[in-house]
Amino acid sequence: MKTLRVIGTVFFTIFFGLPLFWLVSTSLKQELQIGSSDLIWFPTKPDWANYSEAVNRSGILVAAWNSLWMSALSAFITTAVTAPAAYLVAQSRGWFSKVATGWVLSSQVFPSILTVFPLFLIYVKIGLFNTFTGAIILYVIFNLPFSLWLQRGFVKNVPTEILEAGRIDGASGLKVLRYVVFPLILPGSIVVFIYAFINTWNNFLVATVFLQGNEKQTLTTQLARFIGTEGLGLFGPFAAATVLSVIPTLLLFIVLQRKFTANLVAGAVKS
């Protein structure tokens, strides 16, 4: 059993570690070293030229900024609307919660890629096409089903006695939400925020279809451009740009992962 454990640990460390290691090492190699048919695990003299080239390439910085602020804003809005929505779903016994559950399920089943064209036409018609507002609306709505599902577990754990006590005291639904429910489901909100941020940061579809022009690109679409026709000869800057694109989400995840896992467990367990 012990040997099995050791073998497993070594295997998975290599399986998950090697791709990342190779990416970082490639991003620090010179062009000749990258194309080399000798095995260079790590360049003896790390070369940062790829990073300056990646950053200087037109559009990467703009794209990074777009990704950052849109992800933060979308995650914030998602978190803000998920809490009251999850509260309503958990509270209502009737058709409302059924409709909400039905929507969550059906939106998972129907391939979003195939609603893209009708959506495109709607967006052109109402003037949301190629606007940041339009993109953020889509990010939020796409984040919502899973966020609702995550937050539902936490809302259910709020004792009904507390809610009713607040109500008998004459507090409105909004006040109960603001002063009773929100503080109690803060852990759930953290989980939702992290999920929504990472999901938006990594979203490829929305920016590909609904945002056009260089000034509206995101990091994912810029990277995909690299992969296309122009990029294949440019492994170095390509790898450097990828490292840069991964750093924010990875950092967020590393810093908050303990909280994230713990809260995920907390939400799932008690319900």
Binding site: R5, T9, F12, T13, F16, G17, L18, P19, L20, W22, L23, I34, G35, S37, L39, V81, P84, L88, W103, S106, V109, F110, P111, I113, L114, T115, F117, P118, L121, I122, I137, R167, G173, L174, I198, N202, N203, F204, T220, T221, L223, A224, F226, I227, G228, F238, A239, T242, S245, V246, T249, L250, L252, I254, Q257, T261, L264, V265, A268, V269
Partner: protein, 298 residues
Amino acid sequence: MTKRISTIKNQDRSVKILLFPLLVLIILVSTIPIILSIMASFTDWVAGIDVDINFNGLANYRYMLTDMQFFASFKLGLIWSILVTLLTTIMGVCVALLLNQNKRYMFPLKLLALSPWAMSPPAIAVIWITLMNVNSGPFNIILRKLNVPAGEIGFLEDPTLFFPTLLVIGAWALMPMITLSALASLKILSRELSEAMDIDGVTPLQKLRYLILPHLRPVLVPLFALNLIWNFGAFDLIYVILGSFPPPNSEIPIVFAFRQAFKYGQFGYASALGVTIALFELVLVYVILKKQMRESNQ
């Protein structure tokens, strides 16, 4: 009592009003497009400006039944989705079991094993394209060093190797979700029971068979069903990788439908394919979850 309920309803009304704009947006960008897409599947809609769109009944669906290419891609999609889901589930549980030992040296593995979740499909594609390169990828260099005659393996270019390579990439990229869920479930496994079994001299394998796996089952089965349909419709990752290496006959149905719409402009036909895929997924989830629910009721 009724009065109290009605005041509660009134109190909640303010929350409902607050959420009303959200409902409008959901209908606008989620419900209406789905309905339009279902309607479009019964039309002869093709791309172009000012084209006439006519309802043509089931013509798209009839054509679909004769479209051997779609059947081939459907079969491929099924194989892909079943294999990659099995692979991620089995490996994800293994990783979760390793991580659950709560040893401090496991922390790096934990970060590594969950890290693909923080990466976008293009980033994942970049990583693996670099790694699998014919000339400069480490695997090919090592193979050449070992004097393997086929030291120039096009993991992504060779039509027979493309699919297995895609499975490995898929397993790598899609595992974190399973690992995380299994880990969360293992954390609430009764420690007393587990320790009692150790004292009674139960072998680790028996423990896995009779304690751990039954405990994980209620979490894993729905997750398996969800992953099955997610992977069946996994568009981004495959599209990005295919974008640079489009081998023939390697399109899963979702990519096939996307090409019909955006390359050939067959919106009507593509919508019919989309509706078919959605219906298939719905049935799949229903069958698996129904079985699960019946079992948990017994």
